[in-house]
């Protein structure tokens, strides 16, 4: 039992359940239903001020707050890990304001809030993965105007998104986008998957879990319902590929997980270890190792 695993407990007095008032939660749930009905489409919502700075996950926090109930089990990760400072802060916020049970176990969680990663352990039906999104608009750097990008989405005019891929291939001989790699959802809407490494993109495709995306500062929600196609943008003759050098985790030996490169001592020795700390720990345990946190 670590600090992440905490049984349901008493709530902080003086605030509504999960902080947000019920009218706001209802509004967010309505907008989420719309988002689920139009996969990949960005639905505007009137984001509220939360006790964390906007840009620090307030979109995801509002989504989680509007969905969470006493029977939920919550997992929060940042960069794949349950123990990074921001994950700790958000987890504690829900433990205090909703009194819910928290866990580090991907399997046990009913809601997983994440920043920048999709867990390595496959998700299953009934689970909800909530992404914190800094910049929801995939066309933003080609077209800074919201009024214009909304039009481009409405008309499915995505030529300019391919222009940026074209430029990468022309310059580097390959698509050189390692994270926040744009995807087509349900063959209709172009979507930013949030800054997950492109390594994680395939996990979004036809995922059995419900994927919800909250951008608090930019006041947008979007969703990918279970089993929806999520295709990473590419050219016919330059298909989407994950190109990482063959490496294994120095702690658990995994060859199929996204690895952090960590300076391990003052002499500058580097080790590679799973970014998903829970996945790594489970694998170490299964091999009878004494668990070392990455």
């Amino acid at each position: 039992m670590t600090a992440m695993d905490r049984a349901a407990g008493p709530r902080r007095p003086g605030y509504n359940y999960a902080f947000l008032d019920e009218a706001t939660k209802r509004e967010i749930r309505r907008k989420l239903l719309k988002a689920v009905a139009i996969p990949g489409h960005q639905v505007p919502f009137s984001s509220r001020e939360m006790p964390m700075p906007p840009g620090w996950g307030t979109g995801g926090i509002q989504v989680t707050a509007s969905l969470i109930g006493p029977s939920d089990v919550l997992k929060v990760i940042d960069q794949g890990s349950d123990d990074t400072t921001n994950a700790v802060s958000i987890r504690r916020f829900f433990a205090e304001t909703a009194g819910v049970e928290t866990t580090s176990s991907t399997r046990r969680a009913s809601i997983i809030q994440t920043r920048h990663r999709v867990p390595e352990t496959p998700l299953s039906e009934g689970q909800i993965l909530v992404f914190q999104v800094p910049l929801p608009e995939p066309l933003r750097f080609l077209e800074p105007r919201e009024s214009e990008t909304r039009k481009l989405h409405a008309l499915a005019e995505y030529g300019s998104a391919y222009v940026s891929l074209y430029e990468q291939v022309a310059r580097h001989g390959r698509i050189a986008q390692s994270y926040d790699y744009p995807v087509m959802v349900g063959a209709r809407y172009l979507m930013r998957p949030s800054p997950i490494p492109s390594f994680d993109n395939p996990k979004l495709d036809r995922s059995p879990a419900l994927l919800l995306f909250g951008a608090g500062r930019e006041r947008r929600l979007y969703a990918v319902p279970p089993y929806t196609s999520v295709e990473s943008l590419s050219f016919e003759d330059r298909p989407f590929r994950i190109e990482l050098p063959p490496r294994r985790c120095d702690l658990c030996g995994a060859t199929d997980s996204f690895l952090d490169e960590i300076v391990a001592d003052d002499a500058g020795t580097r080790i590679f270890a799973c970014s998903d700390s829970e996945y790594c720990g489970e694998r170490q345990r299964a091999q009878g190792l004494s668990v070392v946190a990455p």
């Binding site: 700075p53 840009g55 960069q79 794949g80 123990d83 994270y179 997950i196 006041r219 990482l244 050098p245």
Partner: protein, 371 residues
């Protein structure tokens, strides 16, 4: 093992403790009271209320104390608190014409009915550090009021007519927008989509960062979308806030707030259908934030460029640019989120860069090998 940023719960607890120590400073120095902050750092309180979008001088003083004087952080604290308050309804429009005016000046008119009332202003002081303030001051003995001559203004009695009314009589200035009874949009409840209407623009400017607004307003004076402004009237003082409770059906006064209101008069050349006339820019800010109100009025006017068919192109005329970047709580949050760990993305970029470097080296050595 080196645990990088994965410090976890204990590190956060320690950080909070250190923060509390820093906030208090040297315990040998007496602690500030909220009353001291409210009474003696009034403009800081006013600014926190504006950007925090909450009129409550005592809580603003608390926020400033908690934020160690950081106005952006104080505004943030107020905003979050505001968000937890139940909504009883919307007040009636403030009648600033019925303001108990304490300061009122016009740059456009030499003199005007009711006169120029300078009130408490630093405008005509010489900005020399006053070393007398190093030591506590004796309060002025009662009864020694400044001479009550015109222009120096203690609080005016009775109503002051609006300065711009005299232009209206000649139809030289556009009429103020009529209240058509249509519901006023609320940017905290309905996300503004672009193009935003004027009410949404004014709401966003009212809570916008003073520094950002001043910078943009300044740019509009320096040729980036000039609006040729005059200060038609600045008025400062207390106004009543009224609410119509559903069960009563008529307006009752629920309190008074102090505001600064600023109207600019701006040139307008007219077009085929509209005769040349003066146009208005409007600013309203809590407390005595008159710099904020002036910047707001300049920007309100420059954001009307499209409506008035003026040539576009300057940043201060671009509503998406101005409104999307005016909120210092959003701006600070997003900028400072760069301090959060990004090592997954960075790792992905690092591997990509290594691959690109390998490919580059290969390309570079290939032609040499061929020669």
């Amino acid at each position: 093992m080196y645990v990088a940023v994965k410090g976890g719960e204990r590190a956060i607890r320690n950080a909070h403790r250190r923060l509390a120590e820093r906030r208090r400073g040297d315990p040998a120095v007496p602690e500030l009271s909220l009353e001291q902050i409210r009474e003696q750092l009034g403009l800081a309180v006013d600014r926190a209320m504006c950007e925090g979008a909450l009129y409550d001088p005592r809580l603003a003083a608390l926020a400033l104390k908690q934020a160690r004087g950081d106005s952006v952080e104080a505004a943030f604290l107020l905003r979050v608190f505001r968000n937890t308050l139940p909504r009883f309804g919307y007040s009636e429009p403030l009648d600033t014409g019925a303001m108990a005016v304490e300061r009122r000046v016009s740059g456009a008119f030499k003199d005007l009915p009711g006169g120029q009332l300078l009130g408490a202003t630093a405008d005509y002081t010489h900005r020399l550090l006053d070393f007398a303030l190093e030591e506590p001051q004796q309060p002025a003995p009662p009864g020694e009021e400044p001479e009550a001559e015109a222009g120096s203004g203690s609080e005016a009695t009775g109503l002051l007519p609006r300065a711009l009314a005299q232009l209206g009589e000649e139809a030289l200035i556009e009429a103020p927008p009529a209240d058509e009874g249509a519901p006023v949009p609320d940017i905290t409840r309905d996300p503004p989509l672009f193009p935003a209407e004027r009410a949404q623009r004014l709401q966003t400017l009212a809570r916008g960062d003073e520094g950002f607004l001043v910078g943009l307003a300044y740019s509009s004076q320096r040729g980036y979308g000039n609006t040729h402004p005059f200060v038609g009237e600045l008025r400062q003082g207390r106004v009543a806030v009224e609410l119509v409770p559903e069960e009563l059906g008529f307006a009752v006064e629920i309190g008074e707030i102090e505001v600064s209101e600023l109207e600019t008069v701006n040139q307008f050349t007219g077009d085929a259908e509209h005769a040349p006339c003066f146009t208005r820019g409007y600013g309203l800010a809590f407390g005595r934030s008159e710099r904020k109100a002036l910047a707001m009025a300049l920007l309100d006017r420059s954001l009307r460029a499209e409506e008035l068919g003026e040539e576009l192109g300057a940043p201060a005329q671009d509503q998406e640019f101005v409104l999307e970047h005016a909120d210092n709580i959003l701006a600070t949050g997003f900028m400072e989120h760069l301090k959060l760990p990004h090592h997954v993305d960075f790792q992905a970029e690092r591997e990509l860069l290594r691959a690109l470097r390998r490919a580059w080296e290969e390309r570079r050595s290939a032609p040499e090998a061929a020669e």
